[in-house]
C-alpha cells in the first residue's frame, strides 16, 4: 500500500525565498510522525507546503501515491488532507457551529463525536468565532479539521494554549486516532514531552532541512542528543526567531 504522504526532494518557500530545502520524507498509511525543531526552522512551512500554501521550488509531493504537487489547495483538501494551522485561523464571522460545518464531509467524525472530545465546545455553539477564548479557538480548529474526516491530518502545535488536562485528553484522542485504521498524522510540536510521547517516529528540523529522522524513543532516552538537536538550554537563547531568509 502507498504511503499517505511523500515528499521527494521538496524545496519550497515564500515568493523567491526558499525556506525548506530538499526535504525527503514519507509517512506510511496509518503512521503518525512528529516534527520538532527550533523557532523558525521551517516546520510550519513544511506542513503548509503539503497543503499547497507555499511556492514549490522543486521536488514532488505525493498523497496516497498520487502526485499532488500541482493541485489547488481545495483539491488537496478534498483528496483527504486536514489542516490545523498554527494560528488557529477560526472564521470570526461564523458561529462555532458554522465553523464546524463549512468544511464537513461525511465519515466517522461528526458533531456528536467531536463534542465528546471537546464537551466545552458544545456549550458555545452559538458564539461567533471571535467571541471565543484562545483555548476554545484551538479546540475548534482541531474539531473543524476532524469534521472533514481527512485521511491525513496535519497539526501545527495544536496544544498551544490548551489547559494541561486537555492536552492529556487530546493526546489520548490522538493515540486513538493513530490506532484508528484510516488516519495518518503529522504533528508539529514544541513541547518535547508531548511530541515524543505521541508518535513512534520523530523528525527534527533545522534551517529548512531534516536533521534527524528516527524513533522517538531514542531521543526520549538520550536527553543530550535531544538538547543538541533542538536546543533546550539557555545558551541557545539568542536564536529566538532567527531570521533565516536567504
Amino acid at each position: 500500500m502507498a504511503e499517505a504522504l511523500a515528499f521527494d526532494g521538496v524545496s519550497a518557500g515564500y515568493g523567491e525565498t526558499v525556506v525548506i530545502e530538499d526535504i525527503c520524507l514519507s509517512v506510511g498509511a496509518r503512521e503518525s510522525i512528529t516534527i520538532l525543531g527550533r523557532n523558525g526552522v521551517g516546520k510550519t512551512t513544511l506542513l503548509a507546503t503539503a497543503m499547497g500554501h507555499t511556492r514549490l521550488h522543486g521536488g514532488r509531493i505525493k498523497l496516497n501515491g498520487d502526485d499532488i504537487s500541482a493541485l489547488d489547495i481545495h483539491r488537496r483538501a478534498l483528496a483527504g488532507i486536514g489542516y490545523v494551522p498554527q494560528e488557529r485561523e477560526i472564521f470570526p464571522s461564523l458561529t462555532v457551529e458554522e465553523n464546524l460545518h463549512v468544511g464537513a464531509r461525511p465519515g466517522r467524525w461528526d458533531g456528536a463525536r467531536v463534542f465528546e472530545l471537546f464537551p466545552h465546545l458544545a456549550a458555545r455553539l452559538g458564539n461567533m468565532g471571535n467571541q471565543l477564548s484562545g483555548g476554545e479557538q484551538q479546540m475548534l480548529s482541531i474539531a473543524r479539521a476532524l469534521m472533514g474526516n481527512p485521511r491525513l491530518l496535519l497539526m501545527d502545535e495544536p496544544t498551544e494554549g490548551l489547559a494541561p488536562l486537555l492536552v492529556e485528553e487530546l493526546q489520548r484522542a490522538m493515540d486513538d486516532l493513530r490506532t484508528d485504521a484510516d488516519m495518518a498524522i503529522v504533528l508539529v510540536e514544541q513541547n518535547p514531552r508531548v511530541a515524543l510521547g505521541f508518535a513512534e517516529r520523530a523528525l527534527v528540523m533545522d534551517r529548512g532541512r531534516v536533521i534527524y529522522d528516527g524513533p522517538s524513543a531514542e531521543l526520549r532516552q538520550d536527553r543530550q542528543r535531544l538538547e543538541a538537536l533542538i536546543g533546550v538550554g539557555k545558551d541557545e537563547s539568542n536564536r529566538v526567531g532567527e531570521d533565516r531568509q536567504r
Binding site: G40, E136, G161
Partner: protein, 251 residues
C-alpha cells in the same frame, strides 16, 4: 501602605445568559507575583478585560490604589498604572519596532497630545524607546516593521509596549504563547527582571512557567474562583488536578 494595589470586589460579567465571571473577589498586593490559571474558557482573559476596562462588569467594583475605577475608561486606567498584554499579539503591524515603542512612550509622557512640534523633536521619547529596545535585545530589529518580524520577537515587543507605560500593575495574558518552551525563557527572564515594586498577574498554561514564577496562584473555574494558595498548595490540591492540572503537576 500595605493594602492591595488592585482589588476586585464581587465582580460579575455576563454575555447574554452566559456567566463568564461570577462574583470574583480578588486582591493583588504591591510587588506580588501572582498567577491566574484555569481551564480554557474559564474567564481568565475576561477577568483581565474587566480589570483594564476593555469590558465593564455587570456587577461589582474594581479598585486601584484604594480608588474605585469601575467607571473609568481604559485609557484613564492606564494612566493610573494598570497595564496589560494581549494573548493574541496586538501590535501596530505597519510600524517599525521603534515606532511602536514611540507610540506607547509618547502616550505615557503626554507627548502624544502635541499637535505642532514634530515628533522627532521629542528626543526624550526616542531615547526611552531606545532603552526599551536594549532591555529586550531588539536593537537589530529597530527598523523592521512588525509584520516582518518572527513571532517570538513580536511577543517581546508585545511586552515591551506594556513596560513602556511604566505600570504599577502588569497583567500578562499568556506572554509566552506561541513561543516554544525552548526559547520562551527570554520572555521569562524579562519578567523575572521586572522592578520588584510592580505587581504582576500572569495567565499561563505552561506549568513550568507558572510554578517557577508565581508566589501565589489563583485557580478560576467556570468564571468563579475555585481556590487560591501557594504553588505547593495548588499543585497538591486534588480538585485542581481533577479539573485542570491532570498529571502536569508532576512534570
Amino acid at each position: 501602605m500595605t493594602g492591595p494595589v488592585l482589588e476586585a470586589k464581587g465582580v460579575c460579567k455576563n454575555f447574554g445568559a452566559l456567566e463568564v465571571s461570577r462574583n470574583i473577589d480578588f486582591r493583588l498586593a504591591a510587588g506580588e507575583r501572582h498567577a491566574l490559571i484555569g481551564p480554557n474558557g474559564a474567564g481568565k482573559t475576561t477577568f483581565v478585560n474587566l480589570m483594564t476596562g476593555a469590558l465593564t462588569p455587570s456587577r461589582g467594583q474594581v479598585i486601584l490604589h484604594g480608588e474605585d475605577i469601575t467607571a473609568l475608561a481604559q485609557a484613564q486606567r492606564v494612566k493610573r498604572g494598570i497595564v496589560r498584554t494581549f494573548q493574541i499579539t496586538a501590535l501596530f503591524r505597519g510600524l517599525t519596532v521603534l515606532e511602536n515603542l514611540y507610540v506607547a512612550v509618547a502616550e505615557r509622557t503626554g507627548a502624544a497630545t502635541g499637535l505642532w512640534r514634530p515628533a522627532g523633536y521629542r528626543r526624550d521619547v526616542i531615547d526611552q524607546s531606545l532603552r526599551l529596545l536594549e532591555i529586550f535585545q531588539l536593537q537589530d530589529d529597530a527598523h523592521k516593521p512588525i509584520r516582518e518580524l518572527p513571532y517570538g520577537r513580536q511577543r517581546l515587543v508585545e511586552i515591551a509596549l506594556a513596560l513602556a507605560l511604566e505600570p504599577s500593575v502588569l497583567l500578562l495574558d499568556e506572554p509566552a504563547a506561541g513561543v516554544p518552551s525552548a526559547e520562551s525563557h527570554i520572555i521569562l527572564d524579562v519578567i523575572d527582571g521586572l522592578p520588584a515594586d510592580i505587581a504582576v498577574l500572569i495567565i499561563e498554561h505552561d506549568m513550568d512557567v507558572v510554578f517557577r514564577f508565581a508566589e501565589r496562584i489563583t485557580v478560576l473555574v467556570s468564571g468563579a474562583i475555585l481556590v487560591q494558595g501557594s504553588p505547593d498548595e495548588i499543585a497538591n490540591n486534588a480538585e485542581v488536578r481533577a479539573v485542570y492540572l491532570g498529571e502536569a503537576a508532576h512534570g
